[in-house]
């Protein structure tokens, strides 16, 4: 039987009391917040209870609330094929040292979904069987979907902040002109443009930041 978010929340609240927060007014999608340490127990209950039967973990993601609040909120979208109802569960974590139990023992889908959150938000999942980066390379620094993430400027000397080609060409032209003027000033005999020595290429393959 399809249950409303209120009924689902009431069942979870009855089973876990304080660990389950209030149901937020369902303006769009109703959700409730769970104490991070209890997330696995609550989710296992939501899956195993026959009247709830949330067999499908649709999505695991996170939202970073920097700089307004020093919080990262984990967002779990659950759905039940049997009863055709859904609920959103959230968990609030501090931004520093964010960590909570993995849901891999409850739903296998959590394995890959949590790896993505770990990679892009820097949330550690305790008891995850394979917590490696998945989108970014293993030696990447930082977690790109955090709001205060700063690009490192490059990766293995491959720059990712480059000026437009036109700006770069103008800079090269100016370097040529400046070199020509400099040689004209130092040489006693003024060099015509045709005999001016070629300007040196910008050092180090033009690493522009």
């Amino acid at each position: 039987m399809t249950l409303s978010p209120e009924e689902i929340h009431a069942k979870a609240k009855a089973a876990f009391g304080e660990a389950v927060g209030e149901l937020q007014p369902p303006a769009k999608d109703a959700f409730f917040t769970v104490t991070p340490a209890k997330i696995r127990e609550v989710c296992a209950f939501l899956k195993e209870d026959p009247s709830l039967a949330f067999d499908f973990l649709e999505d695991v993601t996170a939202t970073d609330h920097h700089p307004k609040e020093p919080l990262i909120r984990l967002v779990y979208h659950l759905f039940s094929y049997r009863h055709r109802h859904g609920i959103v569960v959230k968990a609030e974590l501090p931004r520093d040292g964010a960590s909570l139990p993995s849901l891999d023992p409850v739903w296998k889908a959590a394995n890959w979904l949590e790896r993505e959150v770990y990679d892009l938000f820097g949330v550690a999942f305790e008891g995850h069987p394979d917590l490696r980066r998945i989108m970014m390379p293993d030696d990447w620094v930082g977690h790109p979907l955090r709001k205060d993430y700063q690009e490192a400027g490059g990766y293995f000397d491959i720059t990712n902040v480059r000026d437009s080609a036109l700006v770069e060409f103008r800079r090269m032209d100016e370097a040529v002109r400046a070199a020509a003027e400099k040689s004209a000033a130092t040489n006693a005999t003024p060099a015509t443009p045709a005999t001016a020595p070629a300007a040196p290429a910008p050092a180090g393959g033009a690493q522009v930041h």
């Binding site: 303006a27 769009k28 999608d29 067999d55 499908f56 973990l57 649709e58 999505d59 993601t61 939202t63 970073d64 967002v75 979208h77 094929y81 055709r84 959103v88 739903w107 296998k108 889908a109 394995n111 890959w112 979904l113 993505e116 892009l120 394979d130 490696r132 980066r133 998945i134 989108m135 970014m136 390379p137 293993d138 030696d139 790109p144 979907l145």
Partner: protein, 382 residues
């Protein structure tokens, strides 16, 4: 850089070797990589390594305005971009508390179902190609060309459509387009019978795919498989029928479910054949939609120039060619930009099933398994 992958593979015995497949490999459908530990041809473990096509689309969603993100959704799944458009449009419309007008919803359904056929044609064609039948791919692409022409006439683009907009669709159906489409559908149904003769019931093809990579229903649900991959495992679930969005309530169609036509339920053949049957259903839906197409606007009249939804968060999902595609969009009510855009895609979760399923498989069968899951790299990495 691969230390962690090698560590995960574990120690090698004398007979075992490590084989690297991809990321540039003709059978990996874009840039996907597998690191295979095998004993000769038999796979001990195959680890998918993804991320080579990661373009940070979700991060871009926080940088550009709400309407400005729509073209980026095309790139999330370039083989079925209509669905990516529609999912995002539905999520933002849900945030704003409005619905597209009826004619726009019909245009969405028509364009989506045509796109589903085009996407499934690629899937079916590459499926044959990956296991050595090169001809069907050319046949499939021939029909897809006509479809691309039709869609181009509708929205001006052949691949990255940017057709669905927040509050409606960009263009109305052009004059004479419906007749052209109907003529194509008449022809296409006969062509589908031809595919069945050419490929589906070909004895070599059937023997190659039967009982291969069987995914039981519980496993499919547990690993979060969606769409044709889920239905092939015998789970009778389709968002269009069971939780209809847009105008899908108005149409009569069947939802094909895997029956174990030539072997066990949920094998590679079931995943292939479910897609063939889905194309037939899409033809039905397009016919009905063109017939019932209501008059009226194709754009909601109250869409402001600067889209600024009230604070909140919305989760919207559509039944894409690769299964359920979910968009989670949050707004703070002040900014013209989303605070977070999350795209949940079928291909990403389908890749998670490769590692447990590939144990004990032959290396050549891994190629068939990937093809049957119909994963596309841009949708995995986004």
């Amino acid at each position: 850089m691969d230390e962690l992958v090698i560590q995960k593979l574990g120690p090698l015995s004398d007979e075992e070797m490590v084989l690297n497949m991809g990321p540039q490999h003709p059978s990996t459908h874009g840039v996907i990589r597998f690191v295979v530990k095998g004993d000769g041809e038999v796979i001990k473990v195959a680890l998918p390594v993804v991320g080579y096509l990661h373009r940070a689309i979700e991060k871009i969603g926080e940088i550009v305005t709400f309407p400005g993100f729509m073209p980026y959704t095309d790139r999330a799944d370039y083989l079925a971009a209509m669905f990516a458009n529609e999912g995002y449009a539905l999520a933002v419309e849900k945030l704003m508390g409005l619905e597209a007008p009826p004619r726009a919803q019909y245009c969405r359904a028509i364009s989506c179902e045509l796109n589903r056929i085009a996407s499934h044609l690629i899937s079916v064609g590459t499926m044959g190609q990956d296991i050595g039948a090169l001809t069907p791919f050319v046949h499939a692409l021939r029909e897809r060309e006509t479809l691309n022409d039709l869609i181009e006439e509708l929205c001006g683009a052949r691949l990255t459509y940017h057709y669905h907009r927040i509050g409606g669709v960009a263009f109305d159906v052009p004059d004479g387009w419906a007749e052209k489409t109907l003529r194509f559908l008449d022809r296409f149904e006969r062509i589908l019978d031809e595919y069945d003769r050419l490929l589906t019931w070909n004895e070599i093809y059937v023997k190659r795919l039967a009982d291969l990579g069987v995914i039981p229903a519980e496993m499919a649900i547990d690993y979060g498989l969606v769409g044709p991959n889920l239905r092939a495992s015998g789970v009778d679930w389709d968002l269009r029928r069971d939780l209809p969005y847009g105008c899908y309530r108005d149409f009569q169609f069947q939802v094909p479910v895997g029956k174990g036509w030539v072997g066990k339920v949920g094998d590679c053949f079931d995943r292939y054949y479910v897609r063939i049957l889905e194309m037939r259903e899409s033809v039905k839906i397009v016919r009905q939609a063109l017939e019932k197409l209501p008059a009226g606007e194709t754009m909601h009249p109250k869409i402001p120039k600067k889209v600024k939804p009230p604070a909140g968060e919305a989760w919207a999902r559509v039944e894409s060619a690769r299964g359920e595609m979910g968009y989670y969009v949050t707004a703070d009510g002040v900014s013209e930009k989303a605070q977070r855009v999350r795209i949940r895609t079928g291909s990403y979760l389908a890749m998670g099933v490769v590692e447990p399923l590939s144990r004990g498989m032959m290396i050549a069968d891994l190629v068939a398994l990937i093809a049957s899951l119909d994963v596309v790299a841009p949708e995995i990495d986004r």
